[in-house]
Structures are given as structure tokens and as C-alpha cells.
């Protein structure tokens, strides 16, 4: 009897033990732990191709940039990841600011566009640009036709009273995309006029979504007429054949720089550096388009996917990543937006 109660208690522990046995961490030899911040298909293409070419086993996890940043902070005392590839540049800059990532100068730097190197300089060599995507909006062609209004081409067109409750954009508190809009408008029109614009836009916004790309999805489904997103997010749905048209606003627009950083304290530092160099090569950057990602690659010699929004034909503002990427300015703008825009009655 004693034995039985004993065995029972032991089983309880043994159950947990055996669960542990099935899951001991993998050996650290010849491997690379990659946190990936773009969409799944592109992540998978990157990890499997690198694995094939080098024989280094890649363990890849896909997460949004904000999630990776939160995880890096949580793991700071005992890092698990080696490389953080992809995702909008701001969290990369913040991680650099907090010393969560490592300085590195790749031999491939000489082939990169200036904007990619600007990110590298802004991050004190701790992060580098791998792709760029311009901010804009996508509109549902059927809905706009039904409303009988001219096709929106500029930021100003979004203030049309007929679009009341028919524009969606993410909440800048939760989304990097929407923060880019906030910073873009402030840089494009000046802070006071910019906030006036956002207040006017507020009347037309039906919903501030949580995720940055959600308005594109809503516009493609017809749940909203216009969604303010990164243009390449709208292109994805247009390529699928949905009735959505991506637009680069006529007044000019800001952009994001998708970035890459090496995690400080990486357990496989050599492999992380190998990946870093490889990811900046034209061949690696060509993997985006087949994976339905239409951002502009950062290597000058990489082929730009034909569906990609042509950055050269857009009016791009001179986006100040250092200023608007800093924690202080970000907090100030977000607090101001919360108080002066979001709290407004409709």
C-alpha cells in the first residue's frame, strides 16, 4: 500500500520528467537560431536556402518585430537567438539603443543602398537595412466606384467627407506601420499641420486596428474602402486578384527599413555572421518575390521584383530615422496623439 501511493507520486514526477526528456535543447554545433520578422513563406525560403547552401542547421521562428523585441528583452540575461532577420526598423533601433544587439561590419556593406547604411549608422553598426517599403494606402475599387468619388491619389484625398467611417489605419501605440504614418505626416507637413491632418483624418477613420497590415486585408475584403498600410502589404492582395489598388500618395511619403541584427551574446556567433553576409547578397535578396513579398531589396545588384512598388517613381521624404526612432521622441509623439487625436469625439 505504501509502495503504491509512493509509485503514484513518483509517476506524477516521472510524467513531467519524460515530457522533459522529449524536449532537451538541441546541440549547439553547426546551428543557427533565427528570429524572423517577415511573413512565413519568406522566412522559410531564407532559412531552408541558407541551410542547403552552408549545411548549417537553421532553427527559425516567425514573429512580428514587436514580439521579437519583447522576447530579446526577456531573454537578455541568457540569449537564445543568434540572428534577428526582418521586421520594421524601429524595434531594431530600440534593441540597438538598449544594447541587446551586436556591432558588425559586413564586407557586403559596399554594395548596399544608402538608406540601408543609414540604418546601420543610426544603430551604431548594430542593425542594417535589408529591404525597404514605402508607406501608402490601398483602396477597394468596388467600394470607391459605388461611392462615386474620384480615385484617391493623395493624402489629402482621404479627408473626403464621403469617406466618413471608411478609412482604416492601425493604432500607432500598437503598430510600427501606424507610427510610421504619424512620423511621416509630422515630417511632411510640420508638427502642427501634421496633427491637424491627423485630427481631420480621425473623422473618417472607422477603426484603429491593432495590427499594421490589417487595414489592407479589410480593404481587400471590402470591410473598409481605404486602408493605410505599407504599399507592399496592399500589393500582396492585389496580386491575389482582390479588388484593391495600392497607391503611393502624391504629396510624398515615408518608408520603413526592414532590418537585420545580430543578437548580443549569440551562442553561434560565427554562423550568425555567415548568415548576415549571405542575407545581404543579391542571391539571398532575390528570394523575396517568389515568397510573395514585394519589398525593395537593399543590395544595389539585387533584382527588384516587377510587382514591387517602384520607389524611384515615388516622392520619398527624407525620413529621419535617428530622431523618430528614439524612445523619447516616440513617447512624446504617441502621448500627444493619444491626447489630441484619439480622444477626440467623432
Amino acid at each position: 500500500m505504501f509502495l503504491r501511493s509512493m509509485t503514484f507520486s513518483v509517476l506524477l514526477g516521472a510524467g513531467i520528467l519524460s515530457a522533459g526528456a522529449a524536449s532537451a535543447p538541441a546541440s549547439a554545433q553547426g546551428s543557427l537560431v533565427m528570429y524572423c520578422g517577415v511573413q512565413e513563406e519568406w522566412c522559410r525560403a531564407m532559412s531552408t536556402t541558407f541551410e542547403k547552401e552552408t549545411g548549417i542547421k537553421v532553427a527559425m521562428t516567425r514573429k512580428s518585430a514587436g514580439e521579437v523585441y519583447a522576447q530579446l528583452r526577456a531573454e537578455a540575461s541568457n540569449p537564445r537567438g543568434d540572428i534577428w532577420w526582418g521586421g520594421t526598423g524601429d524595434p531594431h533601433l530600440q534593441a540597438a539603443e538598449e544594447g541587446l544587439t551586436l556591432e558588425y561590419e559586413s564586407p557586403a556593406n559596399k554594395d548596399l543602398h544608402d538608406w540601408a547604411l543609414n540604418q546601420w549608422k543610426a544603430a551604431k553598426q548594430r542593425s542594417i537595412g535589408i529591404y525597404a517599403g514605402a508607406l501608402g494606402f490601398g483602396y477597394n475599387t468596388e467600394q470607391i466606384k459605388a461611392k462615386g468619388i474620384p480615385e484617391p491619389k493623395c493624402w489629402a484625398d482621404l479627408l473626403n467627407p464621403k469617406l466618413r467611417d471608411d478609412v482604416q489605419v492601425a493604432d500607432p501605440n500598437s503598430s510600427g506601420t501606424a507610427y510610421t504614418l504619424l512620423a511621416t505626416v509630422v515630417q511632411l507637413m510640420g508638427e502642427d499641420k501634421g496633427f491637424d491632418y491627423l485630427k481631420a483624418l480621425h473623422k473618417n477613420v472607422s477603426q484603429y486596428t491593432k495590427s499594421g497590415a490589417a487595414p489592407a486585408k479589410a480593404a481587400s475584403l471590402g470591410e473598409t474602402a481605404v486602408g493605410i498600410v505599407f504599399i507592399h502589404d496592399a500589393v500582396v492582395f492585389a496580386v491575389q486578384g482582390d479588388p484593391i489598388k495600392p497607391v503611393a500618395p502624391c504629396e510624398g511619403t515615408g518608408y520603413e527599413i526592414g532590418s537585420m541584427s545580430i543578437v548580443k551574446g549569440a551562442r553561434n556567433l560565427e554562423n550568425a555572421k555567415k548568415f548576415y553576409d549571405w542575407a545581404l547578397s543579391p542571391a539571398a535578396q532575390a528570394l523575396a518575390a517568389p515568397a510573395k513579398s514585394y519589398q525593395v531589396p537593399s543590395n544595389k545588384n539585387a533584382t527588384v521584383p516587377p510587382q514591387a512598388p517602384k520607389m524611384s517613381e515615388m516622392k520619398l521624404i527624407n525620413y529621419d530615422f535617428v530622431k523618430y526612432g528614439s524612445s523619447a521622441e516616440r513617447t512624446r509623439l504617441l502621448t500627444k496623439w493619444d491626447k489630441e487625436v484619439k480622444a477626440l469625439p467623432k
Binding site: 507520486s9 535543447p25 538541441a26 469625439p345
Partner: protein, 726 residues
């Protein structure tokens, strides 16, 4: 010393002297018994890890006692040795961790100044377990819990597990609410955040701006709790107490939402009721009702939550309605009461513990729910999503997240406290040892009609939603292009037979991991949950209420916060398990355990203690009583706990979104990725596959556990059905 205590001691030495003490890197045993794979004994004697000495000394002291007869002295000595061993164990574990961390002064005291050690492994675990058992056995020798070894040991194990896997992570995260970025105490900042108007603002009462998140959350939770409880009750009464046709089908239908991955119900609701939805389109064509966005906000979230959580209330109330002894109702009728007074004065009061539990679960689930508010919330903000975006959003404010988590916790615990005070000290015992073969009373007609009127539209809605989900996987783009295709299933679940069996589809790896994790965690959850329920209701010991309180904590804490808390607490030694499958299993076990406990408590409240006592009088030990008397009567609770934890392990998102790793990715994380990429087809197809898998799992659990047999006449319903209607 009793034989089982000697066995515990043997385990202790096994863990200390033979098994590798630390967590191995891979299965590399190089250098055993020294180095990374070394045993504690070898490491301590060779001087590599002197801080392991005290643990060995505690074991040695116990060994000297092993030969002595059982006296009150040996009990006291065993308690002392066990306690000292445990203290030494935890002291070295938390003092000596990574370089420059841990507790330096304590490390220096233990002879390990400046030293570092990796995470605890199997040797350490076994030793810890043995020390704990020695302590508990010592307490039993001294007369605790009537000297029952099983009871004291189980209490010890449960307390340790809950303390380590609920209390520690929760304390870690809550601490971050009180400190600023540099780790200094910042109470002013805390107060400012806690009383901010974004949480408590009442703007919506007078003006047009939104209310604080706290009120939104509370309103949503109360509504969801009430509606799910009523639906669950109506459904349980109809299924168990009437001869309504199509009951089996209804039962199956009501359980469907529970096995549906999150996001999918929300997605289906948008496809149906969104501005471009199918139903909205029909309504505007037929009746001229203008297309609107009513689904985004409180109505949509409430609808989705009711659809998703009513089945939980149903499962809880099924067990309770089943357990109400018909003899009580028969007695009322013999005394001349009609159907309605019988229902009102006998059946209804006996339903109260079940109702309170069902409401509590609905309320708490609603508070913790993350997927539905995310998809359908619109501008209606609730705490769980706000917490998530405080952690991962552009603001990255972990302190704010912790403050919001505290508010959420207070709500949940408040509900828990209210439930306790409502039920009070009344007795709800209905399953006793006495003859109890009555015929369940017929429901009053008004109750039947009302129940049916509520249930039928719900069942129809559920059916429509599942039609959408089923069809969605087989057409190109639901709502736009309805060309039949198998493409979504091919992308996800292709199998290549050309060179042997090769699982080619993109969804296979995550599906296999999910199933493995769910299959391991479900039985553990049920086991620990029911054991804890048994301890909480049937045993009296110091700190019982604190234990009950702590178990509710993990349920009240939203998934996201628990996820971050697990990373913070278990990324560094002594327990270093992030990035493994084990952390997923543990997160699921301790997150789902409260349901096992609640259903166990509700079930146990109905079973008369005299049954236990009879068993004890017949000289059965508490383990035998538990296994042969209580457990068979608890089968509905066991089924509920198993099903719930199995299903929740498969469908949970927020708790695991930080815990999944490259090697251990889960289905839901994969589906969320698909939804983000706009590939609804694949997301819906994968969800359909998960639904089928979970249905099979549930059938297997129900078949494996079987029904509880209460000696009641099975002809009851047939007879009452044959009666002419009044």
C-alpha cells in the same frame, strides 16, 4: 521508518550520486561523472561544486535514521532533515546561477563566490522530489493528516509544483509593475499608471469617447458569463431532462465551438455579418437594411465569446444536473409539489454551485480571451489585447502591461470571492451512499419551452458558422471566388509517397508538435487538477485557502502575461527550459489546471463525505478511497478536465506566442501567421483539420474514461415522454 520512506531515500541517492545533476546539452555524457554531465556527489567531492555538499549531508542524515524504528523522534528528525535539504537545495539553486547573477552573498556563504552553474537536470529533479517526500513523510509520522503518507506527500508535491510554476512566474511579472526600467522601486509611477483614465475613464456614460478598458472588460465579462451560463443550463436541462428529438446532434453541435481554433469563429462571423458578409448582403437586398459595421465592437466580441464559451458552461452544468439526486425531487413531488415548485425549490437551489462555477468560468474566460477581441474588437478595447500590445506594440511598455495585468487579476479574484460568498457554507451534497434510484423530475413546460426557444437559434447559428468554415477550406477565396479547389489542403497537408512516406505539407511539423504537447499535457492537467480539487475539498491543512487562491492566479493571468512571465522566470538557471517542448507542456498544464480543479470541486461538492468515511472505516487508505470510490464518481469531471486541457492545448494562442520556438512551433501560431498573410483559405483548411483531430481526441477520451454509473432507473425519460402533455 516505513518502506516507502526508504524508497524515497533511495530515489534521493539515485538522483544525487548516480544521475547527471545538470540539464545535458543534447545527450552528451562526456566526462561523466564529472563536468557538465557530472553527478552531484562527484562534483561536490572533487571540489567543483562545493555548494552541493549540504544536500548530500541532509540525505546522509536521513540514511542514519533509516534503520531506526518509527518513533515521534524519527518523525521530527525526518522533518528537520528534509526541510534542511530543501532549503539547501533552493539556496544553492537561486544563489549560484549565471555569472554575475543570482544572490552573490549567499553564493559566497555556500562556497561558490563568483561561480556559475547551468540549469537543473534530472538528478537535481529526482533529489528535490525525494527531499520533499522525506519532509512530507516526516510530517505524516508526526500525525499530520491522520498520519496518511499519501495525503501529506500529495500536498507537498502540489504545493511545490504550484509554487514554482504559478506563483514564481506571476510574482516575477508583477514585480515589474513596481520597478522602473533600471530596477529601482517606483511606486509613484505605479500609482499614476494604475489610476489613469485610459483604464478607468467613464467618458462613454456622458459623451461619445470610449470608456476605460477596465469597464469595457468588466461589462463584456459579466454579459458573457451570464449568457453562457443560461445557454449552458438550458442546453443541459434539455439534453438530460426532456425527450426532445435530435438531442445527440445538439450535444455534438454545442461542443463544436470548443474545439475550434481561435480567430476562426471571428473570421467566419466577419464573412457572414461583416459589411461585405453573406448575411449582411442578403439582409440589404431583401429588407433594405443598410450595410453596417455593427459586428466590430462589443456585439461582435460578445457573440463570438458566447459561441466559444457556452459549451464550457454546458459541460460543467451537465455534470451537475446529472448529479442531482432524483430522490430529492421525488420527495418534493410526494409531498404534493407540482413541477414548477419542485424545480424552483429543489432543483434550482441544487444547481447553484454549478451555476456559480459556470458563470465564473465564462467570466474568467471572457477576461482572458485574446483572439476574439483582436479580430472583432474594432475600437472596443479590452484588457487582454491592451496588455498584449503593451508588451509587443510600438510602445513596449512592460510596466504598463503588468499594471493592466494586476487590474485583470483583481477582477478575476473578485469574481472568485463573490462566488464563494454566494455559495456560503451551504451543503449541496446529493450523491450519497444511500439508495438513490429515483426518476428525475420532468421539467416544467415553461422551462422546456424557454430553453428550446433559446437553444434552437443558437444551434442554427453554430451550424451556419461551421458550414462557412467547412466550405471555406474547399473554395478559392471565401466570399469572393467560390471555385472548388483542393489547393489549400495540398499546401498544408500534402504527403509524398514516392520515396517512402514523406510529410511534405507546410503544416505537418506544427501539427505533430501540437499533438505531442497536447497528449502529454492533458493527462497531467487532469491528474494534478483533480488531485488538487480532492485536497482542497476533502483534506484540512494549513494554507489550504492560499493554495486555492494561487491556483486561480494562473487562470486569471492573461495568456500573454503568463507567456512573458514564463520566459522571465525560466530562461535562467536553476530552471532553464525556454526553447524546449517542456515549457509548452508546463504552460499548458498550469494554465488549464484550474478547470480541472473547478470541475473537480463542483463534482466533489455533490459526493457525500460519508462515502469516503465508509471506505476509510473499511480500512482503505486515502489513495484507495480516491481510486475506488471518489474517482469513479468523478468521471464527468475527469472527462471535462481531460477534454478541456487537450482542446485548450491545441487552440491556445496568447499564452504560447512567446514560448513557441523554431523546433517547437504550434498549430495556432502557424494559423495566426497564415491569417496575417491574408491566406484565409489555408488558415480555414488547417482549422478544419484541427477540428477533426480534436473531435477524434474527445471521442477517444470519452470512450477511454467511460460514463459514471449512478444507480438510477434508465426508463425514466421514456416513461415521462409517454405521459400525455398537460
Amino acid at each position: 521508518m516505513r518502506p516507502s520512506t526508504r524508497l524515497a531515500l533511495l530515489f534521493g541517492w539515485l538522483g544525487y550520486a548516480l544521475m547527471p545533476w545538470y540539464l545535458p546539452e543534447g545527450w552528451d555524457l562526456a566526462g561523466y561523472p564529472f563536468g557538465r554531465a557530472g553527478t552531484a556527489l562527484a562534483l561536490a567531492t572533487s571540489g567543483a561544486a562545493p555548494w552541493l555538499w549540504p544536500i548530500g549531508i541532509a540525505l546522509l542524515a536521513t540514511t542514519l535514521l533509516a534503520v531506526r524504528a518509527e518513533t515521534s523522534f524519527s518523525g521530527r528528525a525526518l522533518v528537520t532533515a528534509g526541510l534542511c535539504g530543501l532549503v539547501a537545495f533552493f539556496a544553492q539553486g537561486f544563489a549560484v546561477t549565471l555569472p554575475d547573477q543570482g544572490i552573490p552573498w549567499l553564493a559566497a556563504l555556500l562556497g561558490g563566490a563568483g561561480a556559475a552553474q547551468p540549469g537543473m537536470g534530472f538528478g537535481a529533479l529526482l533529489t528535490l522530489f525525494a527531499l520533499l517526500l522525506l519532509l512530507c513523510h516526516g510530517l505524516a509520522y508526526r500525525g499530520f493528516c491522520r498520519g496518511d503518507l499519501f495525503t501529506t506527500s500529495t500536498i507537498g508535491v502540489v504545493v511545490l509544483l504550484i509554487g514554482h510554476f504559478i506563483f514564481l512566474p506571476v510574482a516575477t511579472i508583477l514585480r515589474s509593475a513596481l520597478v522602473d526600467a533600471d530596477g529601482n522601486w517606483a511606486l509613484g509611477e505605479f500609482a499614476g499608471r494604475l489610476f489613469s483614465s485610459t483604464i478607468w475613464g467613464l467618458g462613454c456614460v456622458g459623451g461619445s469617447i470610449a470608456c476605460g478598458v477596465a469597464w469595457n472588460t468588466l461589462i463584456l465579462g459579466v454579459l458573457t458569463g451570464l449568457i453562457t451560463t443560461l445557454l449552458g443550463l438550458a442546453c443541459a436541462l434539455l439534453v438530460l431532462r426532456t425527450a426532445m428529438p435530435g438531442k445527440r446532434l445538439m450535444r455534438a453541435m454545442t461542443v463544436l465551438p470548443i474545439i475550434t481554433p481561435p480567430f476562426v469563429i471571428g473570421l467566419a462571423l466577419i464573412l457572414l455579418f461583416g459589411r461585405s458578409g453573406v448575411v449582411t448582403g442578403l439582409m440589404s437586398e431583401w429588407f433594405g437594411i443598410p450595410r453596417s459595421r455593427w459586428i466590430y465592437g462589443l456585439p461582435g466580441v460578445l457573440l463570438a465569446q458566447v459561441l466559444a464559451f457556452a459549451p464550457i458552461a454546458f459541460l460543467v452544468l451537465m455534470g451537475v444536473v446529472q448529479g442531482i439526486a432524483p430522490s430529492l425531487e421525488e420527495a418534493a413531488q410526494t409531498l404534493g409539489a407540482r413541477h414548477w415548485p419542485t424545480f424552483r425549490s429543489v432543483t434550482w437551489p441544487l444547481l447553484r454551485p454549478g451555476l456559480a462555477n459556470a458563470f465564473l468560468l465564462g467570466f474568467v474566460e471572457s477576461l482572458a480571451d485574446f483572439g476574439n477581441p483582436l479580430v472583432l474588437g474594432g475600437n472596443f478595447e479590452v484588457l487582454s489585447t491592451k496588455i498584449f500590445f503593451a508588451v509587443v506594440g510600438a510602445a513596449h511598455n512592460q510596466g504598463m502591461a503588468a499594471v493592466l495585468a494586476i487590474v485583470l487579476l483583481v477582477f478575476t479574484l473578485g469574481a472568485f470571492w463573490l462566488q464563494q460568498s454566494w455559495l456560503g457554507g451551504k451543503s449541496y451534497t446529493t450523491v450519497s451512499g444511500k439508495g438513490d434510484a429515483g426518476i428525475p423530475a420532468k421539467l416544467p413546460t415553461s422551462v422546456t419551452v424557454l430553453s428550446a426557444a433559446v437553444i434552437i437559434p443558437w444551434v442554427v447559428l453554430t451550424a451556419v458558422i461551421y458550414a462557412v468554415i467547412l466550405i471555406g477550406g474547399f473554395v478559392k477565396t471565401m466570399g469572393r471566388d467560390h471555385t472548388p479547389t483542393l489547393e489549400h489542403y495540398r499546401t498544408g497537408f500534402a504527403v509524398d509517397f514516392s520515396h517512402g512516406l514523406f510529410f511534405e505539407g507546410a503544416a505537418w511539423p506544427s501539427l505533430f508538435t501540437t499533438l505531442k504537447v497536447a497528449a502529454i499535457s492533458a493527462p497531467l492537467t487532469a491528474l494534478i487538477g483533480l488531485l488538487t480539487a480532492y485536497l482542497l475539498t476533502r483534506q484540512r491543512f494549513v494554507g489550504r485557502q492560499l493554495l486555492e487562491f494561487t491556483t486561480m492566479l494562473s487562470f486569471a493571468i492573461p495568456g500573454t502575461v503568463l507567456g512573458v512571465a514564463y520566459i522571465l522566470a525560466f530562461n535562467v538557471p536553476p530552471v532553464e527550459i525556454t526553447g524546449t517542448g517542456l515549457i509548452l507542456v508546463l504552460a499548458f498544464v498550469f494554465r488549464n489546471m484550474p478547470v480541472g480543479i473547478r470541475s473537480g470541486i463542483a463534482g466533489l461538492a455533490q459526493i457525500d463525505k460519508s462515502l469516503d468515511e465508509a471506505s476509510t472505516t473499511l480500512r482503505a487508505r486515502s489513495f484507495t478511497t480516491l481510486r475506488r470510490v471518489v474517482l469513479p464518481l468523478l468521471k464527468p469531471a475527469l472527462v471535462a478536465a481531460l477534454i478541456y486541457s487537450f482542446v485548450r492545448s491545441i487552440t491556445s494562442v496568447s499564452a504560447v506566442i512567446f514560448l513557441v520556438s523554431a523546433e517547437y512551433n504550434l498549430s495556432t501560431a502557424y494559423i495566426v501567421g497564415r491569417v496575417e498573410a491574408g491566406e484565409f483559405g489555408l488558415a480555414i483548411a488547417y482549422s478544419s483539420v484541427l477540428i477533426v483531430v480534436m473531435a477524434a481526441g474527445i471521442a477517444l477520451i470519452q470512450f477511454g474514461v467511460g460514463e459514471r454509473k449512478l444507480g438510477r432507473r434508465p426508463v425514466a425519460l421514456a416513461t415521462s415522454a409517454a405521459e400525455p402533455a398537460r
